[in-house]
Symmetry: C2
Subunit: 381 residues, 2 copies
Amino acid sequence: MSVMKLEEYRQHIRAQLDSVTDFWLKHSHDTDHGGFFSCIGRDGQVYDDMKYVWLQGRQVWMYCRLYRTLERFHRPEILQAAQAGGRFLRQFARVSDGSGGGNRWKCAFCLTRDGKAVKVQRTIFSECFYVMAMDELSRVTDDKDLQLEAEQMMEQPGLPGDVPTSSMAVPMMLLCLVVDKYRELASWCVQQILQHVQRNGTAVLENVSVDGAELPGCAGRLQNPGHALEAGWFLLQYSEQFGDPQIKKTAVDKFVKLPYQRGWDKENGGLFYFLDVDGHCPTQLEWSMKLWWPHCEALIAFLMAFSQTGESELLETFSQIYDYTFKHFPDTRSGEWFGYLTREGNVALDFKGGPFKGFFHVPRCLYMCERILDGLLAHRD
Amino acid sequence: MSVMKLEEYRQHIRAQLDSVTDFWLKHSHDTDHGGFFSCIGRDGQVYDDMKYVWLQGRQVWMYCRLYRTLERFHRPEILQAAQAGGRFLRQFARVSDGSGGGNRWKCAFCLTRDGKAVKVQRTIFSECFYVMAMDELSRVTDDKDLQLEAEQMMEQPGLPGDVPTSSMAVPMMLLCLVVDKYRELASWCVQQILQHVQRNGTAVLENVSVDGAELPGCAGRLQNPGHALEAGWFLLQYSEQFGDPQIKKTAVDKFVKLPYQRGWDKENGGLFYFLDVDGHCPTQLEWSMKLWWPHCEALIAFLMAFSQTGESELLETFSQIYDYTFKHFPDTRSGEWFGYLTREGNVALDFKGGPFKGFFHVPRCLYMCERILDGLLAHRD
């Protein structure tokens, strides 16, 4: 593939990142109560004013990351938006644990517009996105208190200890949080993720037993190709940071190539959301839908794998996913991306933001791909 | 519409009920551990041996009802199957409440093949289906202990008192349980259901506040046409039993005609699963899918409404739903019905039994329609 083609990708990805960021800057800020609206309709209208804590935290994180690392986003309005989001989270997202036990706390899952907790989940994800936001915010503001708060949160007794280890989501989430600071915990996360390679290395299964064996029934046979691909680029980052060639090889073979081979819809294109490893019909009603985020993760995974290995096959697959993604997901009328397509690739839900779609997967993908392409093109110049 | 047409419907519905019942008698019985397999693939194979308590209870109830009220199902194998299911439930489904409080208990949501509880939900539905099963079983076996057990369960302190009243599901479930015995509670359920008529009588909303006002946001605007139609025929039964013409009129206008007008897909046919009353895109990924059970409830609702009012328009709509349903859901290859179609009417999930689909909605629909047609044809002969 020519340098010109890579340059063309970079131009398009840069323009997409600019326009997606503008969409959220314009439509999602609640200037009355602080924080961000999560539920944004196709043309930017707020169709529900509930605020989802995952998405608040992710949006703060993403604004900070853009502000801190890309020159053209180093603008006061982006810093102010991140700080306003951070204030809203610190003021309203934390709720007391309820189970006694001193100074432990939980984060709500969603809040009313003015910050009243509506729902608290038992999982740790809200807390993790809160910490990610505070950690990144402390870097751009150089606020030592925030840094300390994020660290104390990480060291709450029982937080990583209590978690069920059967789902790949937990070690992936923790790996995101700790990779820079807690080498030992990061290594534990990596080992947990690797346990999901099953069936003699022919499949990545979403749920395994605590000791790394296949679970019975549908839950045990479940594959989530987008999630495996996301794990793939997490592992690639880890192996790059700590210089571990064995993990790099496993990441490329088992967490990049394999989920694509199993998850790509050869008839209609696009990645399935869920699959059963034995070919049974999954019981999830949405199994055959094409969601935006697995395609985001696939783009990052293949481009990063190519940049680390130079294998041209990886770049060819990146191109195929790129073509499908940019043909189907971006909305040429109002900007941003649709999130949910049918198996055939038609828009099934037309909102831009919802309970699980915010300013996160799309800009993170565009941002990561732009940075990787910067690196590739710098070497080739 | 001619008597011949009604007779044709009855013949087809009878044949369907026979064949669907045979499918479950043949494929779902666990002769080793008792109880019924819930997860049955397209051709009858068990693809997961988890046992869902809702479905166990519903299958016992359905076998008993068929055995007790239709001559051709008054067969020893059906009684034995119901009794075996009842034994499995009594032995394994009950788990202690955990919250202290004397002799209170909960039902698990699902069990392993040999009866170990896997998951317990906070809602009361598992308990309700348990009681429905025991109540119906006590009628066919004349077992006074079972009857007593079902009644004690109903009288557990706080059970109907504790429930959130904002979802239409709870009063509907309780109305099913109590209509014969607890007139006062039944009347409370009916009033709760009627609170869901909103927007000056132009819509039935799935969730309302405790005092019957519209809730904010997506949750408040949610419509579930199949659920409203099910409520419709519950209300029609209630009004018939207690001779309440006002409730009958409300049932026909608001819970039968209205959900059909709002919920029918004019382009592709079939009933949508969820809709937003203001026309926003629902956030449920499966909102536009065509599920088997709303069509089952619609068939019962329209046929019962016609039989109570004689309005020919109701029978015409019944015919339209009938044509869509029998064209799309039954599987001519292996029997029984598909449960989940795409918006366009193609099969999206091809299993016959899953966590929420068992021997219940299809046979209950066929059974109810057969009985109503028996009544209609008896009068016309």
